[in-house]
Symmetry: C2
């Protein structure tokens, strides 16, 4: 069987490398040799082995009936959407790492794949190399999934880990992450939470079997987290993590991405650096966690190639994934109950004590400040009680768990 790779960037070159490196084992699993017939990229790679299979024209791939499987690892919405659609219409299977495309057009491309007796697979779109999409679709089918809590952005987890371990400010940690290749030159999508929100939309769509829009997901990034916040967290033996939450209760679905203080009883507390983890709570299976490299060339390529093998085993047989196009209306996350960690000017301490239902006062030796953790309350109650306080920082916390 023949594979075409769209895009020879980090992931694409990884897919090329993995298909060569593990060629014979992959052939055994797939029941067929898998050869890279084309690599599509705008650039040339003179002198590199990939040169022999390089094309600048997608039509070479589309019109070649010998291409069975297309790995779309170019990223972005366009032209990835058009290429994927045309490939599926031509009966080719498409495997992708493109979370933007999957979160926006997953339902449509899955339906199209079903109509054309082929497959659209996207294991690499969430959690990099961690198997999570297929386990949800193919293994956890006996469970009503009540909650998914995850760390699904490696860049922000690296930054928060370095801020804590080395007492860095956000800007310093971001700069270090960029220097080490863990953050892009334009890091907005990561640090503002958009990347995590896209992945959350994909997971929420799968567990609800219908479309959850990324734009409907309440999203806070980590740009406002300061070294002082981290110092308070450390004082409480807690860590601050950017957590994606999906909670399904009483027929409602909540979804959000926001920084959260976690104590060490939570398994996600131990997920540091660029690692990702996805915790799934089912009504039968209880708590599960899937942990691994959430990004990086070879781990992400491993997931794409795993999909390619699955596509090879299901040539012209659609593997059903239920994801209807109807948009699910998410519930208001202000209904969710948290403890809240809050910093205010010391002058407002008495006012806060009167109004905030304080559970613990936290002293991290920061002059001029009063900091505390509230008793558990809904976001609405918090907003009502905290009106009039000059909040320096407010972070949801699960320290009572």
């Amino acid at each position: 069987m023949n594979v075409a790779i769209l895009g020879y960037g980090t992931v694409g070159s990884g897919v090329y490398e993995v298909l060569h490196m593990n060629h014979s084992y992959i052939a055994k699993c797939a029941g067929n040799e898998l050869n890279v017939k084309y690599v599509l990229d705008l650039r040339d790679f003179p002198g590199q082995p990939v040169e022999k299979v390089l094309t600048h024209d997608f039509n070479d791939i589309l019109n070649d009936p010998d291409v069975d499987i297309v790995a779309e690892v170019m990223g972005g919405e366009h032209p990835a959407y058009e290429f994927s659609k045309q490939a599926i219409l031509a009966g080719k299977a498409v495997c992708t790492s493109n979370k933007e495309l999957v979160s926006k057009h997953g339902a449509e491309l899955l339906a199209l794949a079903k109509e054309n007796n082929t497959n659209y697979f996207f294991e690499a779109s969430v959690g990099g190399g961690i198997p999570i999409i297929r386990p949800i679709n193919r293994s956890l089918t006996a469970d009503d999934i009540l909650e998914i809590r995850s760390i699904i952005n490696g860049t922000t987890n690296y930054i928060l880990t370095r801020m804590r371990d080395e007492r860095l400010e956000f800007d310093e940690a971001l700069k270090e992450a960029q220097e080490n290749g863990f953050a892009e030159r334009n890091p907005a999508a990561d640090i503002e939470g958009l990347d995590a929100a896209r992945k959350t939309a994909i997971l929420a769509s799968l567990v609800n079997q219908t479309q959850v829009e990324c734009d409907d997901i309440y999203t806070e990034g980590i740009t406002k987290i300061s070294a002082v916040d981290i110092a308070y967290a450390s004082r409480m033996k807690a860590k601050i993590k950017l957590i994606s939450l999906i909670r399904r209760i009483d027929g409602k679905t909540y979804a959000c991405v926001a920084p959260l203080m976690l104590n060490k009883r939570c398994q996600l507390y131990n997920v540091d650096g660029v690692f990702n983890a996805v915790m799934v709570k089912g009504n039968a299976v209880g708590d599960l966690m899937f942990y691994g490299s959430g990004a990086g060339k070879l781990p992400t390529a491993s997931a794409v190639v795993g999909d390619i093998v699955e596509a090879a085993k299901h040539r012209h047989i659609n593997v059903v994934t239920i994801w209807e196009p109807e948009i699910l209306k998410l519930a208001n996350i202000d209904e969710l109950v948290y403890s809240f960690f809050v910093r205010i000017p010391a002058a407002q301490a008495e006012k806060a004590k009167e109004r905030m239902r304080i559970d613990v006062i936290v002293d991290a030796g920061i002059p001029g400040e009063f900091a505390f953790v509230t008793e558990p309350m809904s976001g609405s109650e918090f907003k009502e009680r905290s009106g009039g306080l000059d909040i320096i920082s407010r972070i949801r916390s699960e320290l009572d768990r």
Copy 2:
């Protein structure tokens, strides 16, 4: 579609419960309603709902062409083997939690299922509710799997956790585990490591795609671990865990089950109580961990029912799992390199210092003893150097990692 459940014990009653509790969601995933038509058990359950579908005769199930899927959750080799074989020969899919049967007859039953265009699934046989079999077979197909390290026996992990947290002796912790239902009245298979060895054999067979015999796996249980060993471990900020190891290197496969001292940099350090976790290292994906409830009624039933759904989606379509019957010869684990934690009488301290390549001397305030951790060395070297020492306790350790 109709399901028959063989055995109405803990897992069987869980399968019955999950199929009813999540009936409509399961029907959606399976593309068909799944009804329990028979439950086979020797006992009667007067007044219970299960009574209506109860039978004492396996032939009722075997000869009913309306039974599509059989859940074999009776445990033990016989008659589970005969029942499974007959069901497969009759074209029925069989889903099981029976690690003894799978480790001994998996290759044969898979081949038989292939010949008869049906399936033999066994997700629940390793790690209870944790999806691990299908991820290995269906997701990690792009990777050469270099290592699997796991905690796959909940009973022993519970005992070791309680010994550490409450400073109990082994016998006390075992008694407590039995009282709480986490250990069987005859706990030998768990505490001697046999249960973990069976699961290790299954995992090792899958990653090698050929038979690994349970009896060939070097197995040490936890019966010799004492409160003093745990005290030394705590002194070194380490934990002792019963670890199943599969390592594949230079064309050789090593497999063993033995207590291991782990430091907190290892993700398995945080796996406590009855929880299980399986770490998989692939040459592309790097380190992954799958964590969750390794036993218990509903978690194990979740895995069995997940298999039932997969069987329903693949009625008369064999999902290929490569597991050849040829027996793999395992390499000698004495070639593996560890640090070794050792306790000897104080009188032999000088002798040990001369001979043992000591890395760290450990003082936990135990009179009359000398304890240390060696530099990394092979098991053979350790045996050679330690000959003549009156070893009180010797535990492999990975404290240098």
